[in-house]
Amino acid sequence: MRGLAAADVRVVEDKRDMELTISRRDEGGTALLTLVGSIDLISRQDLITAGKDALGEGDALGLDMQGVDFMDSMGIGALIELARHAEALGQSFAITDKSPRVRRVLQATGLDDAWQPA
């Protein structure tokens, strides 16, 4: 901020200590990513990278989101990006399990019937 010494003025700041752990299991061409933790502005990038890597190496991508305790519209954006990427590659994308939080956010955005497993 111009004109002010940094030490003099304290700006109301956000706390960030979100974590998302992603583990991958491959079964006959399908990559299953198990997500545990929070999907937010920062961790969504890890999800997108892991998802695109998996799609590049296999035929299909599945997400187990039972352990996702926080997700907001940024997370929805990440899921949509992966779904589009899968579609562009002609591969399938599905959410195999949802936590109550994930279910609620998908319902709120009209996506409760999207990305169902075959």
Binding site: R10, D72, S73
Partner: protein
């Protein structure tokens, strides 16, 4: 003497006027008060907004606006006179922040530049304090110094252009038709801009439209997409009567011209006396409706897909009824979606219920907004933009 940091609640204003922080520090040091705060009139000139403070470090985001004439700061502004409050009681001091900080006595003076009222400067003590003429004179002198500091912003040419553009993306003063009282709050997560917006506008045929929208993401980039959506929605609403049709067309527009952008929108239309409303939701939480003094209920409206995904998805319009004197509340997900690690394991629906309860205890739209923010968000520092709009039938 312990040096306390100035908390800048409006970063843009504090950065443009370095004198504000300096003077606040001097006021705090000179008076030994437990809090010293500067509020400024916003663009509508009907609401005061806290811009900087020492001592109110746990200030509730979004609860820092006080309507002119109401409460303590509002009374100072309206009367343009110093006001002393010996014992802070809830109805007098409308701002729950002061109450939460245990402030017991207050002295406030108007900040005047020439003949123009700019805002209010106040100091408070956490104990009962006998303010005298000396304190009032001292504070009035500091207020004059603030008036000078505020007259000359430190802004260069490039910044000025950016700021003008940014200001064009901020919510405008609310259009209030006869028969409906409105209040709204917009609390961006970062800086002064974000992807949330609310809009109220009238259309030929005595129609009134309300909009609550949320571009996924925040900051300047989202604000730019938001500006386009806000404008396009108005254009489609002008030509199409059905809310679902308006959102369908908006979806086609965003999918074609802003690929990759995603947004949720709630769009409603009504006519005087604003009893019957027609709503359509694109991935947006439905509005709440409350009879006066009663807990609100969500309108039975299951959201259709958010915008930006697939314009061929079917969209529906639903009718809702607001009783005489009743409230209608629209909000964005930033209000009800919270982090699990903030010691609060409640889900989204618990927060919606908190909002519904908050609306049972208010008399007017302005208090509805204030309580929506203090009861639901509290002093949780939000990471997503927040917008809330409350309308009350007065016809």
């Amino acid at each position: 003497m312990r040096t306390e940091a100035v908390t800048a609640l409006d970063q843009e204003t504090v950065a443009a006027h370095p004198g504000v922080a300096d003077i606040l520090r001097k006021v705090h040091a000179a008076t030994g008060a437990d809090e010293a705060t500067v509020l400024l009139l916003d663009r509508s000139r009907r609401v005061l907004e806290q811009v900087a403070t020492i001592g109110l470090d746990r200030t509730l985001r979004g609860a820092r606006r006080v309507p002119m004439g109401q409460g303590f700061a509002g009374r100072v502004a309206q009367t343009r006179q110093p006001v002393i409050v010996d014992e802070v009681r809830n109805p007098t001091v409308i701002n729950p922040v002061l109450h939460a900080h245990g402030v017991r006595s207050l002295l406030g003076v108007p900040i005047i530049d020439g003949s123009e009222l700019l805002g209010v400067l106040h100091i408070g003590f956490r104990r009962s304090y006998d303010f005298g003429d000396a304190e009032t004179r001292l504070l009035t002198e500091y207020a004059a110094a603030l008036g000078d500091a505020l007259r000359h912003p430190v802004i260069d040419g490039a910044n000025a252009a950016a700021l003008t553009l940014q200001r064009s993306l901020l919510p405008e003063a609310l259009h209030e038709p006869a028969g409906l009282a409105l209040a709204a709050r917009y609390v961006p997560a970062e800086g002064a801009l974000g992807g949330d917006w609310y809009d109220v506008f009238d259309l030929p045929g005595d129609r009134l439209c309300v909009v609550m929208g949320d571009v996924v993401g925040h900051g300047l980039e989202s604000a730019i997409v938001m500006g386009r959506l806000r404008s396009a929605l108005r254009a489609y609403a002008l030509d199409h009567d059905d809310p679902a049709e308006v959102l369908h067309r908006l979806d086609r527009k965003i999918c074609h011209f802003e690929p990759g952008a995603l947004a949720t929108v709630l769009f409603g239309v009504s006519r005087h006396p604003y009893e019957e409303w027609r709503f359509s939701s694109a991935g947006h939480y439905p509005p709440l409706v409350a009879a006066p003094g009663r807990v609100a209920e969500a309108v039975d409206l299951a959201p259709d897909r958010l915008l930006g995904l697939d314009p061929s998805v079917p969209r529906r319009t639903v009718t809702a009824t607001v009783p005489p004197g009743g409230f209608l509340c629209l909000f964005t997900d930033g209000l009800v979606e919270r982090r699990p690690h903030d010691g609060d394991g409640d889900g989204i629906d618990a927060n919606i219920e908190r909002l519904a309860q908050a609306l049972a205890a208010v008399d007017d739209a302005e208090m509805g907004c204030i309580r929506a923010l203090t009861e639901v968000v509290g002093d949780y520092v939000a990471e997503d933009d927040i917008a809330v709009l409350v309308a009350q039938r007065t016809a």
